[in-house]
């Protein structure tokens, strides 16, 4: 009732003012970042408020998706299959600015882009994804990543890792350094190691893949480990933090990963560095001491700066993993909250789902699911819901989940970019 009444009020007011004033009153929402969170949110804002001015600032005209990029690394997919553009978003009326955003003035409510233009907003949505904490492990910087790829932002880095794997002689060691949490796609490292083992088993069976981990546990761990034992005995080793797994420094010249007590000279070294929210978050003053962005879980508005919302990997969203599914779900929920706020309504309390698939082999999929609600200013698991695939399941179930994973990728990319 409340929403209809205030809606009526707003519409009446709009109906009584002359047209130029109406155009002036159209809300301006600016988004920074065109990944799964930002592009979803832009599209949903335009759907919910066809007359609003929605502008998306994104450096790259081509988007390269991370989910399924482990298939590119291991030669199962082409990078092309990961790439999308924003033409559909543009034709729906979202203004696209292909520049980087460098500055935010929360008082003046403007975003400054690379050419110096200050773009005004009523509401700003930051979806910058992650940046790497270069220099951690010691000596792992951007230059080192040209020799030891991270491949944690899809694109050239993905192809570099693939070329290195292809060029490696049989008998080589592939070493993956996994960072501490929070990180983008917390199961991605284990999927990557699995698919690399799949590749090695078929092509270079005397080789081995080792995960040097800064953590002692990871999601879907028992499912992964059971599958590794079954599919890749002797081919894949996981070294947890407590067993000297944490890589403390790298030596790019010799492709060596150094832990407290050991040196791992690798034929291929893949270093996934520790992460933080994309740089614009700190520039806008919405990142806290952790390097990530606290949010109100219902509106995604920053408690640090009014009228600025943060979604996707950059946000601290409690129990929700930093995944494309979560980013997409948050993008839609944030758009709805902004539409309600601009209409003078109170957004409904938040409830979100996350579903993450991993491939242990091309025909072996496993999943983790969560349902979350906002409690005490944070997203927490709804008790009794969610969890992983069953530990014991026939191969047909694993194959079905692998098919569902592929269907999910086609569905979500069509929803965001199609």
């Amino acid at each position: 009732m409340k929403s209809r009444r205030s809606f009526l009020k707003g519409s009446l007011a709009a109906a009584l003012v002359p047209m130029p004033a109406l155009a002036q009153s159209q809300p301006r929402v600016v988004l920074v970042g065109g990944g799964f969170a930002g592009a979803t949110c832009a599209r949903e804002l335009k759907r919910l408020m066809p007359d609003a001015r929605v502008m998306m600032i994104e450096t790259n005209a081509t988007f390269t998706a991370c989910p399924f990029s482990n298939g590119v690394v291991t030669g199962l997919r082409a990078l092309r299959a990961q790439q999308f553009n924003y033409e559909a978003l543009g034709s729906l009326g979202v203004s696209l600015v292909y520049l980087s955003a460098s500055k935010v003035d929360p008082q003046a409510r403007t975003v400054t882009v690379a050419d110096g233009t200050a773009l005004p907003y009523d509401r700003l949505v930051l979806a910058p994804g992650v940046d790497f904490r270069w220099g951690s492990p010691a000596r792992y910087d951007e230059a080192a990543s040209a020799r030891m790829p991270h491949a944690w932002k899809a694109g050239e880095q993905t192809l570099l890792l693939r070329r290195q794997l292809e060029a490696m002689e049989d008998g080589g060691l592939v070493a993956i350094s996994a960072p501490p949490n929070p990180m983008r796609c917390p199961t991605g490292v284990y999927e990557r190691a699995s698919l690399i083992a799949f590749y090695l088993k078929a092509r270079k069976p005397r080789s081995k893949v080792i995960i040097l981990d800064a953590k002692d546990s990871f999601p879907k761990q028992r499912l992964f480990q059971a599958a590794w034992q079954q599919l890749y005995p002797g081919l894949l080793e996981w070294v947890p933090l407590s067993n000297d797994g944490k890589v403390v420094s790298v030596e790019p010249a010799t492709n060596t990963l150094v832990t407290d007590f050991a040196r791992h000279a690798a034929a291929v070294a893949n270093v996934v560095p520790p992460q933080k929210a994309g740089a614009i978050a700190a520039a806008a003053g919405v990142a806290d001491r952790t390097g990530w962005c606290p949010i109100d879980p219902v509106t995604f508005e920053s408690p640090l700066q009014k009228n600025i919302h943060v979604i996707g990997d950059a946000a601290i969203s409690g129990a929700m993993a930093k995944s494309a599914f979560a980013a997409n779900a948050q993008g839609k929920a944030c758009a709805a909250a902004i539409a309600q706020l601009l209409a003078g309504d109170t957004p409904a309390s938040g409830k979100l789902i996350n579903t993450c698939y991993s491939l242990v082999a091309p025909d072996y999929g496993i999943s983790i699911v969560g349902v979350y609600h906002a409690v005490g200013g944070q997203y927490v698991d709804v008790e009794g819901a969610g969890g992983t695939s069953a530990l014991e399941a026939p191969r047909e179930t694993r194959a079905a989940e692998a098919n569902y994973a592929a269907a999910w990728f086609r569905t979500i990319t069509a929803e965001v970019f199609g």
Binding site: F325, K332, A336, A339, K351, T355, W408, A414, E415
Partner: protein
């Protein structure tokens, strides 16, 4: 009842006159609903083995989710998702989905 109908008619008249200037309440997804289309395609151009649910009958959706929740209907992920929603939430989501194109 009469008052509500009159108000609805007025809303419709204002909409015709002014165009849609604010979010249409009917298009606003209830809590949780926006997550569904991550897997259940809203577009008909997607090759998928996951059934489309947008535009399907609300009671049909409710029945399916209830069967997933009770374990009556076998599932890979929907059993785990269904357990996170109350009957009222499921009903609201189903009604919203059935109103989508």
């Amino acid at each position: 009842m009469g008052g509500v109908c009159a108000r609805r008619a007025l809303v419709a008249a204002v909409l015709l006159f002014a165009g849609v200037t604010a979010a249409d309440a009917a298009s606003m997804p209830p809590p949780g609903a926006a997550s569904c289309t991550g897997c259940h395609a809203s577009s008909t151009n997607v090759e998928t083995n996951v059934p489309r649910i947008a535009g399907r009958g609300a009671s049909e959706i409710v029945a399916a989710v209830e069967a997933f929740r009770s374990g009556q209907k076998p599932a890979t992920v929907m059993d785990r998702i269904a357990k996170g929603f109350t009957e009222a939430e499921i009903r609201a989501i189903a009604e919203w989905l059935s109103a989508q194109k």
